[in-house]
């Protein structure tokens, strides 16, 4: 018997497609709920979402709270937040996980303030820990300096809320034979409740290969400043047929666009080969690629933390190393 307050995941749909991050969170949610011996439940807001509910159950949801209304097909800031907050007040979940898409990041803080609980942004790990025999959610985020991680807790308020970026967690296996329950909820929504009204949602196609889908990724950091720009990284990437990414300073310098940033505030990727050039290896950055198969780093500082998370390290001036590397790679790939 599963007793006790459930673990919840808000599973976002856009145009009746589930966002991957919600499914990734169900994998984590299942692990947490089994550890607590409670139900894993998901909140699905939209219109005609029955098919999606089946999918959520196949990924491990014991219950799907299904809120259907034609007006809720597309994300609506205040009404979604009201619906979620009211359900929380009614069912008192122990934990609520939300995928940190732009929409998830808009919704989560509003809901946390409504129910007056804590919310930890962009966690890179979540697990159940115990304090005097009482289990709680440990929420891990990167810390400042070196290879430090910080454990955040929410000791008194419930639910314990956290957001997680897409790609941080692995997608669980799908199991069609899994059974769950659909609970339809019909909240009383008046037209006047839409103080912000989404009138249009436009989804655009990605240009080129997004870095999260590439087999090889070359990333550059502030060290490229000494080389006068990002060119050397682009050349290296071209030889390897790789996608290009970088650190936050590279975005600030406008060498790369926002969606090429890797790390806690950017993308989490796990390519077969990841090469970091001129990045010191702040934990905020490295958490974005730790699950890559092979990691190589180039930096002139032998003590740079980046080397601690790499398989292969080349210490030296990138302006000297890269021309050789490009030449050598041209021979073999």
């Amino acid at each position: 018997m599963k007793r006790g307050n459930p673990v919840w995941v808000w599973t976002e749909q856009r145009n009746n497609r589930l966002m991957d991050v919600g499914v990734e969170l169900l994998g984590k949610g299942l692990e947490l709920s089994e550890r607590l011996n409670v139900k894993l439940e998901t909140i699905l807001i939209g219109n005609q979402t029955r098919k999606l509910a089946d999918e959520l159950m196949a990924y491990g949801a014991d219950t799907v709270y299904m809120i259907e209304d034609p007006r809720l097909q597309t994300y609506q800031s205040d009404v979604y937040a009201n619906v979620l907050a009211d359900l929380i007040k009614e069912h008192s979940p122990e934990i609520l996980l939300i995928g940190a898409t732009n929409i998830g990041m808009d919704l989560a803080p509003r809901v946390a303030a409504k129910v007056e609980t804590g919310l930890t942004a962009h966690c890179v790990d979540l697990y159940i820990d115990e304090d005097n025999g009482i289990p709680y959610l440990a929420q891990v985020v990167p810390g400042w300096g070196g290879n430090l991680m910080v454990k955040i807790v929410c000791p008194e308020k419930r639910p314990q809320m956290a957001t997680v970026r897409p790609g941080v967690l692995e997608k669980p296996a799908r199991n069609e034979s899994r059974k769950g329950e659909i609970v339809k909820v019909t909240p009383d929504i008046k037209d006047g409740d839409f103080k912000v009204k989404t009138i249009e949602m436009v989804e655009e196609k990605a240009v080129g290969i997004p870095i999260e889908e590439a087999d090889t990724v070359v990333a550059g950091g502030w060290g490229l400043f000494s080389a006068g720009g990002f060119k050397p990284v682009e050349e290296l990437a071209e030889v390897l047929g790789a996608a290009v990414g970088g650190t936050r300073p590279a975005v600030d310098k406008e060498w790369i666009s926002d969606d090429q940033m890797i790390g806690q505030s950017g993308k989490t990727i796990n390519p077969k080969l990841f090469i970091s050039v001129g990045a010191s290896g702040a934990m905020h950055f490295t958490t974005g690629f730790l699950r890559s198969k092979v990691i190589m780093a180039i930096d002139q500082n032998p003590d740079a933390p980046i080397f601690k998370v790499s398989d292969i390290g080349l210490v030296g001036d990138l302006r000297e190393i890269l021309p050789y590397l490009i030449e050598e790679l041209k021979k073999v790939v």
């Binding site: 803080p109 910080v150 454990k151 308020k157 505030s265 601690k308």
Partner: protein, 266 residues
Amino acid sequence: MSLDIVVCIKQVPDPEYFSKITIDPVKQTIRREGIPTIINPLDKHALEEGLKIKEKFSGKVTAVSMGPPSAREVLEEALALGIDDAVLLCDRAFAGADTLATAYPLASGIKKLGNFDLILCGNETVDGATGQVGPQIAELLGIPHVTFVNEIEWANERDLIVKSTLERGYMKLQVTLPVLLSVVKEINEPRLPTVLGIMGATEKEIKFFNAKDIDVPEGTIGLAGSPTRVADVFEHKSKRKGEIIEGLPEDAVKRAVKRLRELKAI
């Protein structure tokens, strides 16, 4: 009619010095001594938008910040840009706040100032990077909010259509004042202070409010009022070998490529 515009700005460590910031292993707090500070970059875009809207409709722009006494520097900078009023929420009791315990004093401080039509925030800070404070202020003030705003289109002085960026694509949202908008950098190009602005700024006074001044609800501020807290700081242990290939660049590169092939990475 004219608009009362409030812009929330935060003083943050300059990201160029981030690699020098460490965590105090005993107190588990961030050590940022000797690190220069700046206005959070996106908050400059929020200030710019506030000034542009005032120029369009007339009104008043007030910048509000919560922070230590040194945070007056960012307010001085905002005054030099041409805002009308500056308020610093400053009290030891505010220290150690998480996002909700930051939103409470900011919301109470804004209420204390009187009427507000529009509140502008940066979409996120460089040091916290949560993007949570804006929506939480809006909730506590009972007004709607929109995040990731990169364009504002005014139908008239009260009704607007805002564009909010998605990972790939965007949403268009319709809203009526009062509202809180969190802006991204694409929204505008921030202006630079003028000599006249800097001179004018020295004549303006910055208001200081402490916890009592703003009637913030009890138990909602500072470390004590924060639902979340830091429980532990620990080292990330990597399973990778961290093998460094030594030698002259030409030679080291050859061996590195050989290793990449052995590992079947290329």
